[in-house]
Amino acid sequence: MERALTEKPHAETVPQSGAAGTILNGHYLPPPVDKDGKQWVRTSALIVKSTSELYELWRDVEKAPLWQEQIAEVLVTGPKTSHWVMLTGDDPDKSIEWDSEVLNDEPGKRVAWRSIGGDSDNAGEVIFEAAPGGRGTIVTVLQEFRMSKLASTWETLTGRNPKQAVIENLRHFKALAETGEIPRIQGQPHGPRGTSGNAKKSIYGEKVATPAGEHQLAS
């Protein structure tokens, strides 16, 4: 098949296996489906920064509260471990905590992790690949949660569904990496919202606090 066309002046080599199981033998594979209590989310973003810059920003886990929603604090506890504190909703006194361990660390390319005890059962990986045509980096995140459907539905109603949170966090990561801030409207003036305005804010996910952002860009 490779020889069916010989004139492809800018074509790049087809990867045999792509990020987070997206490509296998030159063929696209869909994301894993939810089953047996496991929920999966796979999302990607093209970011105009180098793979190594993005890897460094991601790997600096104590900075995660700058761009991950609801994360109050992250403490590095060892070469491969960290402790995470996450707010769960409107009540600032309520939080969940867990420890996380890096399973695989390939600088500039990939980080894989899993939780090792605490209030959250999750695992995931992030892959940094040069985008076709030298247009930046494709960052792909694959994350898995163990959580009942009921709990997930509850999360959707009270704040952010964890799957959507992974998607939003990658969006925040991209904005922070490309611009040095995360776009926000919380804190701007408005007239009285009334019942319908407030209901819409919840439905649109506008009640989840936008992370702080504010990251000094390497010039």
């Binding site: 904005a175 409207i185 003036p189 007239g191 919202r193």
Partner: protein
Amino acid sequence: MKAVCWMGTSDVQTLTVDDPRILNPHDAILKITRTAICGSDLHLYDGFIPTMESGDILGHEFMGVVEEVGKEVTNLQRGDRVVVPFTIACGNCLFCKKKIWSACDNTNPNAHLMEAAYGYSGSGLFGYSHMMGGYAGGQAQYVRVPFANVGPLKIESDLPDEKVLFLSDIFPTGYMAAENSRIQEGDTVAVWGCGPVGIFAIASAFMLGAARVIAIDRLPERLEMARSFGAITVDYSEEDVDVLTAIKDLTGGMGPDSCIDAVGLEAHSTELQGFYDKVKTAVMLETDRPSVLRQAIQAVRKGGTLSIPGVYGGLLDKVPFGAAFGKGITMKMGQTNMHNYMKPLLERVEKGQIDPSSIISHRITLDQVPEMYKVWRDKSDHVTKIVIDPWAERAA
């Protein structure tokens, strides 16, 4: 401060709200000196654009004086006089680098809403629904401008506000519409809608080499304005006038090389299809009323270009796609890539080649805005463009 708030369909109120403050390092706060009501604000007023929340501050055409800047804004300082583009762009993403500023990846805090509706999210806009970012708008005394290092255009000459205010949207929007219509020297261009965007599209079509411009509307003051810019006018509401016949009569049966739909989703039609669309939108089977779009597709010549600066928001019914394919036409559309046009168009104003303020019919205070939304919607009182002085206590 005083601000114009959307409180529901056909309900706009001037209220006292908190002053805006710096929220991000690339923000600036402006004291607004002039602002305006846009034709597209009527889509919000009439409830055609989803994801508005009661209390939202309206307005996306404004200019003012820099009051305060965030710590990463190095190109502006307190006291600078600026015009602000209605699309917010970060300047760093792939789209901004390609100069498709209105497709910026990083300025819509509610990108997921627009992704759900459109597949991908465009840039954030001021005062134009939560799907488009939920940013507070500029029909107010102060406004917060995100990414102030990228968008605002400094006005360093002593031109009055009224001559440069429309660089915030409608002049660049009309210009991009003409550019999108791919005019070649000697072309004939037909423009539907002689509101402000249509007028600037007519002017820009001539600037870009059009030999003849045909302008279509029904309001005498607008047709008069179109003639003052050099167009031949067609009043579609006159008895016995059929727009398609008129266009054939004025182009030797050939059809215009380019057509510009400067009307958008709330088109009025005297024909049966106008009634059809009103019924379908009323029962939510259709969100937009595309009668001008249908007519423009029908009218454009074989191999011609259709440019669409008029706003469409959702689902359209009975669009003659067969005609579009059969004639091999090109369609170009979208929110204006403001940042490409503001500076070159300012130069044209500075050289005196065009006076954008000539379209203004009403100068008002913030307190008059609610009643003027109604006048603007009903096209009463010979209205052509409404400009607001947010600090005036009584009308000029």
